[in-house]
Subunit: 309 residues, 6 copies
């Protein structure tokens, strides 16, 4: 078993390896001045069971292409089996054709991985369970919900409610609510006039006086959360939290969230959170033990299913 | 252009052809006494643009295999392009791995179709938009929501609300609500104790005094609808309707729904509804014009996107 | 090594496992009320060498789709190698394009199996040896002729002759005759007038006073056998037997054969023969030891070739 | 439409083109002194419907590789569709695994053709109909039986019988007999002792006093025919003919057949018969009109099925 | 025919379209704040013959992924044929495994393009002709040598010599020399000591008193050119020029070349040369007419071969 | 581990096996009188790691097809992994499209091998490094340069220079020169007038008074070498040698080289050199130890990279 980490995921790879009492595989990965990525695997992987950990974070396309190139190098170096470990799946939200003549990039990524030579995939908290069906190779879809749920259980909030920030998130928010044994509500969003602009218009469900835990798979620009927070305050919640697996935190997200009055924002390290994006009310939990256990089980042929739920 | 219909979809195929002022292609399709399906296409399709209409209804596997065999016959008979028109997609609900060691049959079906020789797919109201990504061939995902919405708009209900019968249906129910310009609510469902049994536990959102339109992509055994209906009545709705695209109506569904006190159940003919399954408060709208227009546009190379929304 | 049996082949799977001193793998396989097949493998198969036994018998398409779904589930559950054991190959007689615009379903089935994830195939007595060439994966084509031959050798018939019931069966009947060291004859069949109807017209070869053993790969409706029997009697055979591997016995077969005056009908259990289809002159021999030995050899990497002949 | 001929089939290609009032496409095809085949297509085929005629005759592998190279050149030159016209299919008799650890070369050839870029196949009188199932691309399987039958009908033989020279040939001989409306018989062949040697042992069916027409798909070394002829004479036939589509005529064939006393040997030009292999009692009929008509129909999209029978 | 340009190639696409008197296809292409690329084709391409022009320039991976996503969108929007026009091929120099455990990224790119749905490729001046063999789809490999040669012919230099800056470039430099009808020389490079460092060590061939035209497929960092220039001056050339197709000009290239005393640097616009990278002695010739003519010929089915040489 | 040799490579296979203290695998390989190749593997290879050694030498196509058939037989006999060891790669020089409408046969061969079932490739001294990129399976590209260099080092020539016989060979000649630590020169070749004829026109670099070692990957007809030798003599070299890996030696090669006055011609046994092609100044070195070591490392999973350089 050998574990290589892409440059987007150095820290997490080290943590995973440390959970498994091993060292990351050695590889030279850099860019030439012409912006071409170069990869050289520095140790023999002939007939080895190889795992490549690479998450999706900016520069997103570089991380993806780097992963594909690493896999090509490993395949041509005769690795026996190559498992791509994708803590945050690239282009996960481009998973359907909801407008004419748009791509389904998440499926394209699945095909590109297979073309490069990936034999199996391990990933965490996809936006939709159906994305597993994009792969023809076996895929293990882990969830970090239990990591997040443990944190909130420990708080012993008096009257918590899980709130989905938009209708599309209700399903997974409800699962999180069920895990905590608390009610669920959601924020409705509608198109404004004839335009494409979408706006939060109502909270559906009872939240007044509660501790609202906004829950989603990822937080990107923070816009939905901010809109939801405004409506929740109108409905006089007692306090508001934000919990999600993937801390994309792009654009104005940090500024918005840090200044929002949210009691706490709880995320995981599937996407690296650099110091510049951290603030006092941000808690980053690690998925390294979860991924390490998955890798161990895949390698030894044990059942991974216990990590699905 | 030639349109062939599988035996599961004779009536709908005739309606589609009639919209297009054409006749269904002639084919011998029958079962030998050994239960093997036989297909013989009775007219030359060499270099033709062929559409095969086949829906999924019991016996489900026969309908699927018959479709695959028809496509093989058409491919070997040198059809130029074969489009599978699937009003109700086979195994649509087996679209994710939500338990260990289960199949993703909806993806398998997509691969089987491609293997048999299908060049493109037209289908209606998949359970999840992501299923489009299961195909590597172009797929047109139509919706019958406008067909259903037209029916309800004509009713001019005074205070309608769209209700999703479970958390997983909120997203599409909300789209239907937006189309009608009315609010949305949903029914929460939870596991009972440590068992796998799931039970409707609460209505999330305001429904009292409203005309509730339960909305889902399909109605199968009617259990969710019945549970939802019970809770809605506790919440004192004024009236309750059920609207959905696919009238699977299996097991006790008809008995349950006919005796439920629902003001009206509105479905389409993506799945054939035989006389024995009809009752006075059931309305069956036809998707034939929708599918005919899609076929026409695919054949002539016009944009199908207007039919997506 | 794990052996799973489809629902079409429960009894045979148990017999095979018993020969190998093992238990069938545990799996939940059932139909929902909407007629969709569901499969859940109940034990880990990660990195295992898995065999799935499924024969083709009515409902034929359900058995086939169930097999494909089982394979998909096993593949996604990371089985190392999946061998489909097909005692009676689905759609084996649809193996050529002898009319315009018909499918070659036996080839289609081979491709569907590969698409689902089958890595190798074990099957018994195909109608034509060439069908092995339909597979791109390795295929072991076993024969049950020796099982049948042993039975007839033990009879010590005084003057046996093997008779092929139609010209297409001569090749395999001759092989059986050679195995028994006895002469061979066949029944000629011709089109009647300009129609598609085909009728047995003559016995080619000497059969008078002999014990005729009608031999074919399978007995389906029994029509060919009955026609052949009529001609054999005209030619004054001493007695007539019927021997074949696959007891399809569809439609009027049992009634015809039981009332035919055949001294004995000898088949194997590649296709299950339920009590209702059995009569006093029917002998069912088991291929379980043959298949068990093949599975054992495939698993341990020993040569299977000794089982071919 | 453009028709290119491989070097193995120059004369037949010219005849086909002449039937279609066109000229063969121009191409440089030669061997370098290092024995490497070189192909250069001398006219643009961009977006054309291209047919490549190449039969299998010694040197067999050169003819096959030349065909594959021509197809690669045509594909890279952007031909729209490439149809391989194979009057005598390469390695047609290596169509099954009748011994352990042997190839199925006829299937391999089908896959090689597809890999090189062949989009469809036209061929004549395969040894077994099932070989059509080796192709995943559409394949038209023509028969030259009518060409041969016309010749024999014109003879008005008083008491003809068609004789298959071995048990495996009965099926196709019977079809030929049916076409002529005459009886059929066959020659049984058995293993001698425990060896692999096989010997003709008996004529099954009545032939005494008849004009026997030995019929097979091909005549190779002539051994089977000679053995059959010996037995037929013992059975006192009135005269003996040999009819077959493919005149392989390898090794001692010509010497044997010319000196055999056969009244006439009738073959076609699917395999070129050079002057050195001709003798006075050999008649070579041409399949050029048959292939030309097939090519015309494939190109214009008409049904080819009329040429199957 | 529709021509879409990626964001890396806006200007060149406009020039190409202008040569063809057409407009670039309309598409929304942008990055979300999470750095994910989004593409929406704004006009129907159903059944159209589509060309996507995208060169490789920094950010290289974004340009590549954007191209793949555009192709996926076009494929799912049912374009009839998609041709990728790649003026400078991505990762062209990563075309061999010259060290252990490195990728062959140029082949990987060819496979990724095919996976996304590219049906054919047009590209210019690959580093090695063999890269054409990386594609299984038809590929047209154009050369801009004639564009460059025309420029130098017009100069009427009295005693020109073409100089390859390293041994690997001799082959293509010699072709350019032959085109101009002038001699060729090259700069030898050797490893320094046991290190991986490589240094220009000698000019092989006569250059004294000549006008040396350094020629290569691309100029990247300018290091080879600078080293070569130093040696040429030691050998007392009369003047030195640099000519190459692809103006990669990365890192210190512009500074080096602008200050080098080269009489002129002549490149093309296969890679965009922004104003900041231009200086007075840089001449940029356009390949737009060449690419436009290739596109026109591909679309109309005319021979492209005249543009190869 | 089992090693099978094709008929083109019997002697080399024996040498390789002897280096590995093993015996070649037993197989029946012969041609029927109809010129069809037949292969039967005579020992079980089920689940074995199999190597097939086959070089390209006349009859080239027979050797290639024989290899493909062997691989098919091994695959169907369930070998676990099949490595093709190709000392001289078939059609290696047909590696680019340097004229319109020609094939890229070297790529075609790579695809044919993969289609037949080859899992990996080992080869020696390809004409261009890029050909490695033709394979999607892992390929090990060994070099025999060190075998040749050892021979020349031992000679201790006083003033050696390596000379490439044409511009395309400079790159690899320079590598050989670097290995020996000596200078490099090359022979320029130009088209004569407007014709396609190419003629050596000049020696570029200093050779007067030196011991010139003409170096190329292969020697075919010897024409380039003869032309080069003439120019070298005009330039008054002290002596001339010829060194190359692949001794194709076709057409007039032996006569030319033996009578040329070359001091020595040094080749390897990648292509068999029969006694009739040997003369006193020809030295044949063996690559068997190199290939044996590569096979050993591939089998045990050790790094092969040390053999690349």
């Amino acid at each position: 078993m050998r574990i290589f980490g892409g440059r987007a995921t150095v820290e997490l790879t080290t943590r995973i390896c440390s959970c498994l009492c091993t060292e990351p595989g050695r590889a030279d990965i850099f860019k030439f001045s012409n912006d071409n990525t170069f990869v050289r695997i520095l140790e023999s992987v002939r007939d080895d069971d190889v795992f490549v950990v690479q998450t999706s974070c900016p520069p997103v396309d570089e991380a993806l292409v780097e992963l594909l190139i690493m896999v090509d190098a490993l395949k041509r170096a005769s690795a026996r089996r190559i498992t791509a470990v994708l803590p945050y799946y690239p282009y996960v939200r481009s998973d359907k054709k909801d407008q004419p003549r748009v791509p389904i990039t998440a499926r394209l990524v699945a095909d590109l991985l297979a073309t490069a030579g990936v034999d199996r995939v391990v990933t965490v908290d996809l936006t939709a369970d159906q994305i597993q069906g994009f792969f023809s190779v076996p895929a293990d879809h882990l969830t970090a919900q239990e990591v997040l749920a443990g944190h909130f259980r420990a708080k012993r909030l008096p009257r918590p409610v899980v709130v989905a920030p938009d209708p599309g998130a209700v399903k997974r928010a409800q699962r999180f609510a069920q895990r905590l044994g608390v009610p669920v509500a959601f924020v409705d969003k509608r198109r404004v006039g004839g335009s494409e602009e979408v706006k939060a218009t109502a909270v559906v469900g009872d939240v007044t006086g509660c501790q609202a835990i906004l829950f989603d798979e990822e937080v990107d620009r923070g816009g939905s959360s901010m809109e939801a927070l405004g409506l929740l305050r109108e409905r006089k919640v007692d306090a508001a939290y934000l919990a999600c697996t993937h801390a994309v935190l792009s654009g104005p997200a940090v500024e918005r969230l840090a200044g929002s009055g949210l009691s706490e924002v709880v995320v995981t390290d599937t996407v690296p959170v650099p110091p510049a994006k951290r603030w006092d009310r941000l808690t980053v939990l690690s998925v390294a033990p979860l991924l390490a256990e998955a890798i161990r089980r895949v390698h030894t042929g044990e059942s991974v299913s216990v990590l699905f739920t």
